[in-house]
Every structure is written in C-alpha cells, then in structure tokens.
C-alpha cells in the first residue's frame, strides 16, 4: 500500500476538549474552535432526478449538540449520510475534521470513519447473540486496537453509558433503551470527535428515549460533538441548536432557549440543556420499559 497522506484542508484547530471553559451544555457555535463538519453548497441528487439535498451550507462546531429536524423526505437522513461520509454529494464540498472528503478514496474514508465518526442508528444494529462487551469492542475493530485493549475500553465505555453491570448480556436480554445505550457505547468507545445519531429514540418508548438522550447529553458535556437526526420537534427543541430541513433545504438554523424568539422551531415543552454530569447516570434510565 502506498502511504496515503492527506493534507488537512485547513489549519488544525485546538482540541476543544483540552480547552478550559468549554463543555457546558448549550455551548454557542464557534465557542470551542473551528467547525468539525462543514458542508459548502452541497447537493445530492439521486438517479431519477430526486434532489435530497440542494445547495446546503452547514457548519457544525466542535463541542456542539444539535438536532437536524424535519419531516420524512426532507433530506435529513441524506444529510447525515453525507456528513458521515457514507454517501458522497453530487456537488459541493464536505469537510470532516478538516479533511476534504472529495479528495479521499474508499480506504481513506473508511479510516476517517473509523477514527473520527461514531454512528448511532435507530435500529441499534447490534450483533445478535454477541455479548454487549464484544458488541462495543467491535467499535474499535477497524482501528487496529488489540482484542484485549478493545475489551478493556469497551468495558469503560459501557460503564460510561450506565451499563457496567450488563457486560455479558446478549442483545435479546436487554431492553430497547439498553440496546441503544450499548450502540452508543460502541459509537464512542474510540472517542471520536463527532457522534452522529440517526433517530436514536425512534424505536424507543418515552422513558427509554429520555434515558438515551441523557446519555447523549452527558457525552456532549464532556466535549463530544453530537448531531442528532430526528423528526421529533419536541426532542429537537430540547437541544441547544436546531437545523430545520424541508425538501432538501435548510429552512431554519437557530439556537433555542425555551420559548425564545429568533427561531421558527418554537416548540412546546422544550427542556433544553438538561444534561447530567458524567459518571452520574440519570435515574430515569433505570426504569425503562423493556421492548
């Protein structure tokens, strides 16, 4: 293999996690450094002429917690796939952690995903019959980490999401909320700077969904950039920043204080910034109904 050295497209920004004063809920855009994700005039047109994204501009800054919200068909899932480098835009530029995605081939993109991006899916995608610990350890499989170290860090990650007592449980022995927290642990076991969650609470009941959201807020508290795709306006409204989409375009992008002005997303009952502290799992997670 020829040595693949990809120049960063922009000057590296200081790691926000190392910067004092960041990591509080509701960090304003730009507070913790430059954008971790930049979409510039990004369009994605599918064969047949359906434009899922039209000329989208978006900056996601380090340490942010934001929702991309919109009805089904609005292009938000395509946006997540483009941000996550699972899909390439038809036109426009995508930068992830200062790498220009257009310049990367499959191997480099895979390495980018392995080291920089964690994914959480609505359907969890846990391997059946495999203990939670090994499911999480697989999050480090493609990063060249030895098995023993993978399992050690997986145990830590499970502890971080409040499942330290569920290491040997298999997916069918876990409730829906627990499954999603295992999936989150798998996504963050490698400490990626960017966590993308696609409808993370979509398959869960309210209590379990709240538990999962608490875990995501905790991760945001310690500096992880978290992007949540949802069609749930109420959920979106509880987050510091909302990007509203419709028909492949961003129709609103704003921060929301509950009931605040300057946003088209004023939803009822938004309880923003309710994240707990790291290592202190919320009590609501213990009462999740099993699926």
């Amino acid at each position: 293999m020829s040595a693949v050295a990809v120049e960063r497209a922009a000057v590296a920004h200081p790691d926000p996690r190392g910067t004092p004063g960041t990591g509080t809920p509701g960090t304003a855009p730009g507070d913790g450094g430059g954008p971790v994700v930049t979409l510039h005039e990004v369009s994605r047109v599918f064969p047949g002429g359906v434009a899922a994204l039209r000329d989208v501009h978006l900056d996601v800054h380090r340490g942010e917690l934001l929702a991309i919200v919109g009805p089904s068909g609005s292009g938000k899932s395509t946006m997540l796939n483009v941000i996550g480098t699972l899909d390439r835009p038809t036109s426009g530029r995508v930068l992830v952690d200062d790498f220009l995605v257009d310049d990367l081939d499959d191997r480099e993109l895979s390495a980018l995903r392995a080291s920089r991006i964690g994914f959480v899916f609505q359907q969890f995608h846990l391997a059946a019959g495999v203990p939670a610990l090994d499911n999480v350890a697989d999050g480090l499989l493609y990063r060249g980490v030895g098995r023993r170290e993978r399992r050690r860090r997986a145990a830590e990650a499970l502890d971080r999401v409040g499942l330290g007592h569920r290491l040997t449980h298999r997916p069918h022995e876990l409730s829906g909320g627990e499954k999603q927290r295992v999936a989150i642990a798998r996504a963050v076991v490698g400490d990626p700077p960017l966590l993308l969650a696609d409808e993370p609470t979509g398959a869960l009941d309210t209590a379990a969904g709240a538990g999962v959201m608490d875990v995501l807020r905790d991760l945001h508290t310690v500096g992880t950039t978290v992007v949540i795709i949802t069609h749930d306006r109420e959920l979106a409204a509880s987050l510091p920043r909302q990007v509203a989409m419709r028909d492949g375009e961003i129709v609103a992008d704003g921060t929301l204080a509950p009931g605040g002005a300057g946003t088209v997303l004023a939803g009822a009952g938004g309880a923003g910034g309710a994240g707990g502290a790291l290592g202190a799992p919320s009590t609501t997670t213990d009462e999740e109904a099993s699926c």
Binding site: E108, S110, A114, Q123, R143, G144
Partner: protein
C-alpha cells in the same frame, strides 16, 4: 494530531474471528452447507483409501507368495485342438539354469463326486489332477487340515481336496472314512488345502498321486501344466525360453503365464473402477461447492445491515471482501476436514473388516484439503465482491 488517514490492518486472529461471524450466528446453515463438501471429500478419500489399502494388501500378499512362479500349460494347436505337453517336458524345464524347482500336474478326464449316486453331469466344476508329490512348495500351497500325499498314499486311492472343492462336496474334515467317488473308484480324503492364490485352479481340484491316477483313472502319463520357480532376477529370460524347452516340436502350442501378473492385472481393473468412483466423488464435491456459494450469496443478502454497520465502523471495501472470502474458506475447510476424517474412518473400517492394512495416501488428505480451499475461494469470490460493492447507505437502509 494525526494528519494521515490509513486504514488499520486486521490481525490474523481478528480476520478469522470476523470471518467466522456467520458460522457462529447461523450454525445450522453452516453445518448443512459444509456437509456437501464433507460428503464429496469423504467419498474421494474413502475410495482412494480403500483402493490403496487393497493394493497394500496385494503387495503384502505378493511379497509373501513371491512373483517368480511361472506356469506352463498346453495351449491349442494350429487347428484349435487342445494340445498336450510331452512327458519329458518337466525334466527339460528343470535343466534350464535359473530354474529352482519344477513340478507338474495333469488334468484328468475323471470327475469327482460326493457319492456314486450323483448324476455324472453334476461335477461341480471340480477338476481331478494327477500331481507330483513336490507340488505344494512351488505353487505356495499349504495343507489346512489332514496331510499331503506321500510315497505311501500316492499309489492308493487317496485324495487331497482343494479349498473350494471341500466346500462344494460338503467335507469339513479329512478322514480315511470320508470317501469321494472319482472315476469308478472310492477315494479316501486325506487332506484339505488352504486357498492357493497363485494357482487358483487348485482350489477347485481333487489331487491324487501319479501312481493312483495311472492305476485307477486311466492316466496317459502326459502332464498338462508345469509350475516352476526361478531365480527372481531371471524370470523374464526363463519365461522366454520355456515354451521351446517344454515342447521343442511345437513351442507355439505352449501357454506360459506368470500368475502374479494376473493378480496385479486384476488390481489394475479395480483401479479403473476406482477412477470412476473418484469422479463421482468429485461431482459430489462440486455440488457441495455450489451449496457453499449459494449459502454465501444468501448470507450477503441477509447481512446487508451488518455490512453497513461495519462500513460505518470503518471497514474498508477490502476488509468486507476479505470477511466474506474468509467465511467461505472457513466453511469449506471445515467441510473438507470433516470429510477427510469421515473418509479415513470409512477406509479404516472397511480395510479392517477385510483384514487389510489401512493405507490412506497423505497426498490424498492434503489434496482434499487444498481442493476444498480452492472451492471455498471460488465459491466466495462473487458473494464477497458483491458485499464489498454494496454502498453503505443502501446496506444500512436494509433491515
């Protein structure tokens, strides 16, 4: 901070562990598709193993019997009539330098019956021979029960029965009181022979002494078959001159054969049959390979979500391709290993039941495993490439 993006290489244990994912999660399907390969390999290993065990047995037999026996028999004359050997032919053969021993028998026209009440047509294929007393050593015959003919019994109506003859006549043990009806005379059974592999005609023989044959059975003193042992290194030379020596007037009327060649030729016939069976095993193996390919194609379709997940975790196309290729190889190799074990087991069981040595050529075992690896690779390539080509978003969209 890192400024290069380079996918990590998976270590060999991880490659195997990931490749075995499908086998762990769907063990029944893995077993069934590996079974096809196992049956093919087992059939081939067993067929070749049994054949080579049989050959090992033949080699052992020939080593014990020796390959230096030559048989001289009268053939037919130019007009198709049965020829005879001259009376002095045995002595002539003895004078050939490398000849160690020579002995003769003469097939008589008389037939042997269990009693004088048996219709003459029911002779049971038994041949009555006038024999020299030194017959047994050259042909490698041994007495199973009773005694061989002696100077004393050769002139009297006494008979030694071949192995098959005794069975046909229903005689289990020799006894002077046990009589068989030969010609127009009762003969006492004094002995029964073991089977004689190099002279199978003796198994269906009833052997009487020369004097008895002349006295009671109207023998004309002409030998019909000569058995001779020669020095091992001179068998072919002796064979070349035997015809002219035994019957100088009409060497073309003499058939010279080497009985050990007949045994080997029978083995060669068996080998042609073995080839056919190996071919059938190969067909079974091919069908097994198609089964594995089928399983892999279905597996790739069913596991799209897993493929998408792995891509999102950072697996490259190459790593996905490798995963399914390794899975196919592991599947085939498991089948192949099981097949080799089954095949060796069948060989061992059959050979043991026949009293043969167990011989499975290592090249068959190694070749069988290599063949399964090749089949696994071929069966896995298409599904693996298909899995790798799948776009991550499509893969993840499938649930």
């Amino acid at each position: 901070m890192l400024t290069t993006l380079r996918p990590a290489r998976l270590g060999a244990p991880d490659v195997l562990r990931v490749g075995a994912t499908g086998l762990r999660t769907r063990p029944l399907r893995a077993v069934l598709s590996a079974l096809g390969i196992a049956i093919g390999i087992a059939a081939m290993v067993a067929v070749v193993g049994i054949s080579s065990s049989s050959r090992a047995e033949l080699d052992r037999t020939l080593a014990a019997l020796g390959t230096n026996l030559l048989r001289v028999a009268p053939g037919t004359d130019l007009f198709g009539e049965a020829a005879t050997l001259p009376p002095e032919s045995v002595d002539m053969v003895r004078r050939i330098a490398p000849v160690e021993t020579a002995t003769s028998v003469a097939l008589l026209t008389a037939k042997a019956y269990r009693s004088d009440l048996i219709p003459t047509g029911e002779s049971g294929g038994i041949g009555v021979y006038a024999t020299d007393l030194d017959l047994l050593d050259p042909i490698g015959g041994t007495v199973a029960d009773g005694t061989w003919l002696s100077e004393a019994t050769a002139g009297y109506p006494a008979v030694v029965l071949g192995h098959t003859t005794a069975k046909r006549l229903g005689i289990t043990a020799p006894d002077p009181a046990v009589l068989v009806w030969i010609g127009d005379q009762w003969f006492s059974v004094v002995g029964i022979l073991d089977p004689v592999p190099l002279a199978p005609e003796m198994d269906l023989g009833a052997l009487v002494g020369r004097e008895a044959a002349a006295t009671y059975l109207d023998w004309d003193e002409l030998p019909t078959t000569i058995y001779t042992r020669t020095r091992e290194d001179a068998v072919e030379q002796v064979r070349a001159v035997l015809g002219a020596t035994a019957n100088p007037q009409a060497p073309n009327e003499v058939d010279v054969s080497r009985p050990s060649d007949a045994l080997a030729a029978q083995q060669a016939t068996d080998e042609a049959f073995t080839g056919l069976l190996v071919g059938l095993g190969a067909v079974a193996l091919l069908v097994g390979g198609i089964g594995v390919a089928n399983t892999m194609v279905i597996s790739v379709l069913e596991r799209r979500a897993e493929i998408g997940l792995r891509r999102s975790l950072g697996a490259t196309r190459g790593q996905i391709r490798g995963q399914f290729l390794v899975e196919s190889l592991v599947l085939s190799l498991l089948g192949g290993a099981a097949g080799v074990l089954i095949g060796v087991g069948i060989t061992a069981g059959y050979a043991t039941s026949q009293g043969w040595p167990v011989a499975v050529p290592p090249v068959v075992v190694v070749g069988g495993l290599v063949a399964t690896l090749a089949i696994g690779a071929v069966a896995g390539i298409y599904p693996a490439v298909r899995a790798a080509r799948m776009s991550p978003t499509e893969a993840l969209a499938a649930v």
